[in-house]
Symmetry: C2
Subunit: 317 residues, 2 copies
């Protein structure tokens, strides 16, 4: 571990800097990468951001503000990348060459020559905002938009429990520096594809309750996904719908796979351990969110997982 | 208009203070009322909050922190009440006796002897936080929870365009003073009643698209509301579901009324003026959100409003 001051000092000395983001990029890795890239370009340095996957077009309002430059990299920084596996195929060639990693994941595997990790930060972008100040670069609107995007996307728009007063203060600073927070939040949180709306509706239609309303179960079959023309990204967050319902302590989502199996997600409130329930079927995860795979028909998979959840409710609550 | 400093000075001089909130109370009127009440009680004053309607139990984490006291009121303050009509039946007796009104609605009708209104504030609670500081009362956890609730509920958890850097800074200050932001956001934003989930599902099932996907229409009949056992509060925000869909510039929600009429909500993006469309049917509202009432069967009402919306789309976009 080095200090953020040391990171700032080193970056000020280097040039031809390559910034690596994680695969399946989200708003925090892209926002952090581009905020840092734009700040370093403002200092006249040659810098670019790379990602193994295509960066979604919806982030264009800040990604297009960085100059596209080609150069032979002399210094490599990774942002929001907890493990080299998360670099993805195309960037795996850099796995053992990363000079500095800046991250907020407590699970960071310390793969870089130097590491700055702050598990208490809601987003890596929260750290990047401080780093840019330490480097003495003025936070302009483009940098502010990138940082704000990282903050809001990694916190469910300031809703999750990872939000601290520093998160809100950083958001306030970014707005004062010109971040278009209203536009960003609308783009990130208020727009659903028709396919997403359709698969959500079809999935909600399957909802059943067990254990006196304390367990809610929904499923999505391959036919439903095909009819709705839904992609993987349309399915994001579908499994959190069940736990939102008043009185529900365990929400179960079954998603049919190609090979006669069902991928199961279990979401629980504080009273119940989802990972214990999923471990009965060879799965695992966190206390509040875990998963497993069950082979069989829909009815078989549903009665197996529902039985396990109802037993856990009877035993624990 | 008086200054907030003058409001603080006056309140410090008064005792036996009655604080009035608006009918159908939301998190901002209740959070503002109780934050101010608790702060004034800390100064040893006799203060209580009144509302024409029952204050929902979900706000108990701060409403129960105020002492319940009876006294003959000598000074009357209203918070977040734009017009005396909004006091509701039970409190209408105070309509012409209000000494100070503290509000953030630009539409405030200036009914109180003294008014402090700040239309740029995202929530009245944002003003109350400053007022409490001006009175020299320390913001403890109970006050912070009440203020934070007002801020987060009136901004859709910091998502709407009314959020400014001061909103985020006030939220940060409240967290530093002990506000349980994670618990509050979960309680306010992640919990849906089964009836709400059910009516949402039934309403989504009715969705139709017009004008090449640019107009989305849903409806809710009395039968659907009865089958879902949904109350008025379960219906909140139902009409904003349509506008979230990618490519939709106008979302229309029809809600059947008892008397063979349909209450229509039209939500639009920047390109279209909802109030102009609704004025064709004798209704009105804002540019992005307006309403009207149409008499007739479901099919008649639907084709009338859909026709008007599609014409507006053809003419304007």
């Amino acid at each position: 571990m080095i200090t953020l001051e040391a990171v700032a000092k080193t970056l000020l000395e280097k040039d031809n800097i390559l910034i690596l983001t994680h695969r399946s990029p989200d708003g925090d890795t892209i926002g952090s990468g581009y905020a840092l890239c734009i700040a370093l370009q403002r200092l006249g340095k040659a810098v670019r951001v790379e990602c193994s996957d295509t960066i979604p077009q919806k982030y264009a309002y800040f990604t297009e503000k960085a100059k596209r430059v080609e150069f032979d990299e002399k210094f490599i920084v990774s942002v929001d990348v907890a493990d080299t596996q998360l670099l993805g195929d195309r960037l795996s060639v850099y796995a053992d060459k990363i000079d500095i990693c800046i991250d907020h994941h407590g699970s960071n595997t310390h793969y870089a020559k130097d590491l700055y990790v702050e598990p208490g930060a809601a987003a890596t972008a929260q750290i990047i905002a401080r780093l840019i100040r330490l480097m003495g670069v003025e936070t302009d609107r483009d940098i502010a938009n990138a940082v704000f995007t990282g903050l809001s996307t990694d916190t469910g728009c300031f809703r999750y429990t990872n939000v601290t007063s520093e998160t809100h203060r950083t958001a306030a600073d970014m707005i004062d520096c010109g971040a278009e927070s209203g536009m960003i939040n609308r783009l990130m949180f208020e727009t659903k594809s028709r396919a997403r709306m359709d698969i959500e509706r079809r999935t909600l239609d399957t909802m059943e309750f067990f254990a006196g309303g304390r367990c809610a179960v929904v499923y999505t079959t391959l036919d439903m996904i095909k009819s709705a023309d839904a992609s993987d990204s349309d399915m994001e967050g579908i499994s959190s719908m069940t736990r939102q319902i008043e009185g529900v302590v365990a929400g179960v989502t079954l998603r049919e796979q190609e090979n006669g199996r069902f991928k199961i997600s279990v979401r629980t409130t504080d009273e119940l351990d989802a990972s214990v329930i999923c471990s009965e079927f060879g799965g695992g995860g966190h206390k509040a969110a875990a998963g497993c795979v069950i082979k069989g028909t829909l009815d078989e998979a549903k009665s197996a997982i529902t039985g396990a959840v109802c037993r856990a409710i009877e035993e624990n609550i």
